[in-house]
């Protein structure tokens, strides 16, 4: 279901990853149910095509099955690993298809009005927690200056490189890099404050 985060979710995710590494198919199914929606949403943003996005989701979770034993706790939480895999696989697929396109969030959609909601039928608590987390992240995104938010979204949701963004917006590459860095730094502060102030 909807991705969750926070200490409890992180510990649960880690248990699932370890179980998957040990060949536990049920754990794999649970991990899929927990994050397939988030992975699919990311892949859809990058690829803009549902069938291609589903292929990318398959690639991502197959890679999870094969490489869960290599998951490095020092690199962060499983959600970070999964979403990095999702972005990378989706962009690889887009490059392979030679279908360069820019998929940018509309200014007013708060990250996703065009997308289909994942039905909430398996884990209402996880959904509720995920929804709260998502709301905090959306709030943190909304707190960015519009030009910062735009480039962060183009990079992390649209799968456009810094150079692609500079070309698309007709602005110097250095300006784009600085804007993204500043945006991420501000996101980090906002998210840290949000999680310290009211973790579910």
């Amino acid at each position: 279901m909807a991705g969750t985060e926070g200490p409890a979710a992180g510990a649960e995710d880690l248990s699932l990853i370890r179980a998957v590494a040990a060949g536990d198919k049920a754990a794999f199914g649970s991990l899929y149910d927990r994050y397939a929606g988030t992975v699919m949403a990311l892949c859809l943003r990058v690829l803009g095509d549902r069938a291609e996005a589903e292929e990318a989701v398959t690639d991502v979770f197959w890679q999870v099955w094969q490489q869960a034993g290599r998951f490095d706790l020092e690199r962060g939480q499983p959600i970070a690993w999964l979403t990095t895999l999702a972005r990378t696989r989706a962009i690889d697929r887009r490059r392979a298809l030679s279908r360069r396109r820019s998929v940018v969030l509309p200014e007013d959609d708060g990250a996703g009005s065009r997308t289909e909601r994942l039905p909430s039928d398996a884990d209402p608590h996880a959904d509720a927690v995920g929804s709260q987390q998502g709301e905090r992240v959306r709030h943190a995104l909304a707190s960015l200056a519009p030009d910062q938010r735009r480039v962060v979204e183009m990079n992390f949701f649209g799968g456009l490189s810094h150079q692609d963004i500079a070309d698309e917006l007709g602005e110097p590459l250095g300006t784009i890099k600085t804007r993204i860095r500043s945006g991420l730094s501000r996101m980090k502060d906002s998210l840290s404050a949000a999680f310290e102030g009211g973790r579910p």
Partner: protein
């Protein structure tokens, strides 16, 4: 490429948009054991993970799950787990125990605990062994510095904004090497970072690098400054991201070598 040059490559890697050459450069840099860039990558990926939660999830068709479950059921993978975890123990540790030493000790104590798949996954084992080898080499290097009779240890106390923050410097005078560790520092504000300054006997401030802190408020820097005989103090200030040639921010940590 330097750590500074790799900052944007790290962001692009977390976003999945790094080019092949950039990715290779970062991989080589990380393989050399740079803890600063490893920390920055973990942080960028963590933010990337959080960002993904801003998008309402989209359900793939049920056929995707069914195909995957069929595929893993048919997968002949044989798992040979070792008796202990391969990840670092989560027991509390001293904030002064260098991360590399902890990683090295963990690897030694757990008996090179790796996950061994079949021969087709030999590359995974090689990668894991490479990682452990790097950890151990870094740990050995750190232990060498700590055991050196030429090492001077200096404690830094928190400045007015953060009286509870602490820092410690291991200064190998003979080699001109400085290992700085900070603990209980709050994350710097938006667009800010921490910068270490070495101060000589003429009150000149020498910039020694910028660093960020992790969720535990811990950060570190490894600095080589061969001609450092006249250094009498060290301080940490908060500065704009990227650092500045001379301090402009507030002193967060300070300590004297005299």
């Amino acid at each position: 490429m330097t750590c500074e040059q790799l900052r944007d490559v790290i962001v692009e890697t977390a976003a999945g948009t790094a080019g092949a050459a950039e990715a290779r450069a970062l991989t080589a840099h990380l393989a050399a054991g740079c803890p600063v860039c490893a920390g920055r990558l973990a942080e960028a990926e963590a933010i990337g993970g959080q960002l993904a939660l801003a998008i309402p999830p989209v359900a793939p068709s049920t056929a995707v799950r069914e195909r995957l479950m069929e595929r893993i059921t048919a997968d002949p993978r044989v798992v040979v787990p070792f008796p202990s975890e391969r990840t670092r123990p989560s027991a509390p540790r001293s904030p002064w125990l260098p991360a590399a030493v902890a990683a090295g000790l963990a690897a030694a104590l757990t008996g090179v605990a790796v996950y061994v798949p079949l021969a087709r996954d030999r590359d995974a084992l090689r990668a894991e062994m490479g990682r452990l080898d790097r950890d151990l080499r870094t740990a050995a290097d750190t232990v060498r510095v700590l055991r050196s009779p030429a090492v001077q240890v200096v404690s830094l106390g928190g400045g007015e904004p953060q009286p509870g923050a602490r820092g410690r410097i291991f200064w190998d005078r003979a080699r001109g090497e400085w290992r700085f560790y900070a603990a209980e520092l709050r994350p710097p504000g938006a667009g800010r970072t921490y910068e270490l300054w070495l101060i000589d006997d003429r009150n000149r401030k020498i910039p020694a690098g910028t660093f960020d802190v992790d969720a535990h408020g811990e950060g570190e820097l490894h600095v080589r400054l061969p001609d450092s005989g006249t250094i009498v103090a060290a301080a940490v200030t908060d500065e704009p991201v990227g650092g500045v040639p001379q301090p402009t921010g507030t002193i967060q940590l300070v300590g004297s070598f005299q």
